[in-house]
Amino acid sequence: MGTSAEEILGATRREGKRLMDLWWQEMTEAAQTGRPTAYVFAMGSMAELLRTFDFVLNFPEITSLQIAVRGQSQAYIQTAEDYGFSPDVCGYVKADVGLQLRQGEHPYGKVPRPSLVVTSNVCNTYIKWSEIWEHLYGCPVFVVDLPGWRGRDSADLDGETFHNDARYVLGQLQELIGLCEQVTGKRFDVDRFREHLAEANRMAELYHAVCETNRHVPAPFNAVVEGVTYQGIAHLYRGSPEGSRYFQQVLREMQERIRLGMAAVPDERFRLVLVGTTCYSHFRRFVELFASWGGVFVHSTYMVFAGGGFVPGFAYDLSRPLESFAERMVTAAYWGYTGSMFYQQDWLDDVVRRWHVDGICFHGVKSCRTVSTGLPDVREWMRVQRNVPGLFIQSDLVDPRLWSDAQVKNRVDAFFEALAAHKAARR
């Protein structure tokens, strides 16, 4: 393996791009051949199960964000609003509606029509989104209902509740399998399913190892920049050998970067966590506003909840594949909510300590009430109870009309000034 900075920094980026292109190729082909395609969502995707039936998997959240990164979201969103959707509806949904109304023509390729939609309630908007396709295409929609976080005491939920939930999820999975068999005309092959679970186990382990490398000072990767690619690949290739191979490569690269003392952000001064998601319509600008102050995102809640539920210590029990799959899914739902969405202070606390974090950026995203509703409250909680400074800014994921550059810049600048003072005072 070469050690020139160029080669090392580029390797996983190149591979990430190749895998992304491959996915688009597969989607575009499916749009032509009619190969069965399942629309699924980042959280609770059930990729391991659907792969067993050879579905092409479309992740509409990814196609929506790619439209935004390409700078074209406004036009797609407008199409959806002209159709009747309110400016207050999630921009991911509207970018996708725009895409559907354009017969799947995407800046990166063509999106096939759904043969099946599988959703979960990890985000309730997923369900409404699915109903739009149901209306447009009359395709079958299956909601895998995942009861999740129940309140303060969820962490020590009694066994009874967990088992009640797991039984329900298992029952639904069996129903979903029946539906998949119907749609594809294939029998469920438990051995293939087991192979996909094994790959997901490998990937989860590597994924966590990659996240851990960022505990190093300076951080080898930016959880907002590279993190988005890692997320994307984790979704698209979850349960496949390509996915595990990719994360092996990432891990190797990060270790190499650490060995060479390479930093994601040169002259790292402040280590940050991003709570929520970034703004994809102003992606580069978003990162630059922080990097210009020597601020690097060492972790993000996004890498957790959108991580498809890779709970720490995640592993399927391959001897009881379906039961274990159901149980892991329930655990992931509990943990996704407590760890990074509704009751995230304990997770934040832990990350602040272990990743040596100086401050937290809370980015409220108008589209996404799932991750953003309570952010001002969590920020206050971390400030008052834990003396961790937090910045609260607001824009959107994909709707460029909601980005106010001067306002965001002012707040970011003021935050870093305060952060510098805070850091100095603690020294």
Partner: protein, 386 residues
């Protein structure tokens, strides 16, 4: 003033009083009594009742209080009912609550649950997961377990077991309430001039604000008095109002609408009328409650049930109430409501049913615009149907 009008005046005062006077009265009569709050849309109040507690429906504050503290805790792009409900609690008006249950109706509400948990360490705050896979053969089993879980919490907080007998007795009481409310809606449909939209709304809304025993007595008296009311039928169009399943429009907004039309059916406070038939009394009462939530129930944008395609359900509501048109409203910033509104409008369009699409906010105070729109809409229809 006649008796009916006095009753409706009192109910309006109750609904618009953010100090929850009926709850305070109950507490004075039941020292040490516990109150269980629940957010929209549906909560099986029978369980709280069987535990000897008072179930209280928290459905926002309308325009009755100023939202200040809640704004610092919840992002600005969230619907109004979530923040005003939190404000009620932050301002101490809900200090009597021992338990608060927030059903998983939408992303804003579920997330608000986290805010409540952090804000009120002495209150038991819980999310309740009603099935979003309502057609699954496993949904009833699951929900029975979930109801029992809530039951265990209430037993713990209240210090008294919930026996099957007690639960059955509570179900019978609430069955009676549902039956009486169905009667109210029958009158709305058949003789809407006898009961204005605001009045029928007050009758439903108050169910969640006072002990059900009292409410049943009240409904019985009102139903007795209504047929003798000296009012004449007028020439108004008959509409269904859809979109009030969670956040509630101001009473004055309903008043403005009823000036121009008869609202012959609606989904206002639908959670209090969610179960559409009697919950069976024989057999396992927990299971009967779960089964009724799923299989003897209405519809709303926050429940996914492929057996109840919502646009078709709306068309049926229109048909069965003999309405000529619909007002399809949605609360501002309400993701599920706004998304459903698009389907509703398209389905109505396809069915050739005239409809008016509008947005509202619970704290609205100016209704001229709404009034004008509804009037124009109604007039054009009167002309068309003449």
């Amino acid at each position: 003033m006649d008796e009916l009008e006095r009753i409706f005046d009192d109910l309006r005062a109750l609904v618009e009083d953010p100090s929850f006077p009926a709850v305070r009265r109950w507490l004075a009569q039941n020292p040490g009594g516990k109150v269980v709050g629940s957010f929209q849309v549906f909560f099986p109040e029978e369980i709280a009742h069987a535990a000897g507690m008072l179930p209280l429906k928290i459905a926002g504050a309308g325009g009755t209080i100023q939202v200040r503290q809640a704004d610092a805790r919840i992002a600005a792009f969230v619907c109004s009912i979530v923040r005003s409900s939190l404000e009620l609690a932050l301002s101490g008006r809900l200090d009597f609550l021992s338990v608060m249950v927030i059903p998983n109706i939408c992303d804003a509400a579920r997330n608000a649950c986290g805010v409540w948990v952090r804000s009120f360490p002495h209150m038991r705050v819980e999310t309740l997961y009603h099935p979003h896979n309502a057609a699954s053969a496993h949904a009833v089993d699951y929900l029975t377990g979930e109801y029992r879980r809530i039951g265990r919490i209430l037993e713990e907080v209240g210090g008294r077991p919930i026996t099957d007998e007690a639960l059955r007795a509570s179900i019978a009481l609430f069955n009676e309430n549902r039956r009486l409310l169905r009667e109210v809606y029958r009158i709305k449909r058949e003789t809407p001039w006898l009961l204005s939209a605001v009045e029928s709304y007050l009758l439903v809304r108050s169910a969640g604000l006072m002990p059900r025993e009292e409410h049943n007595a009240l409904l019985r008296r009102v139903l007795e008095l209504l047929p003798q009311r000296p009012v004449k039928k007028q020439d108004r169009i008959r509409v269904v109002f859809e979109g009030g399943f969670c956040e509630q429009p101001a009473l004055d907004m309903l008043a403005v609408i009823q000036n121009a039309c008869y609202i012959v059916d609606d989904d206002l406070m639908i959670g209090l009328r969610w179960i559409t038939e009697d919950v069976p009394l024989e057999g396992d009462p927990w299971r009967n409650l779960a089964d009724s939530y799923l299989n003897r129930s209405s519809y709303s944008p926050v429940q996914r049930d492929p057996r109840k395609p919502k646009a078709e359900m709306l068309l049926r509501r229109i048909r069965e109430s003999g309405a000529e048109a619909a007002i399809v409203a949605a609360a501002k910033m309400c993701e599920p409501g706004l998304e459903e509104q698009v389907h509703y409008a398209r389905a109505l369009e396809a069915a050739g049913i005239p409809h008016l699409v509008m947005e509202f906010e619970e704290s609205m105070t100016v209704f001229e615009q709404v009034g004008m729109e509804v009037e124009t809409f109604a007039e054009s229809l009167l002309f068309q149907f003449a």
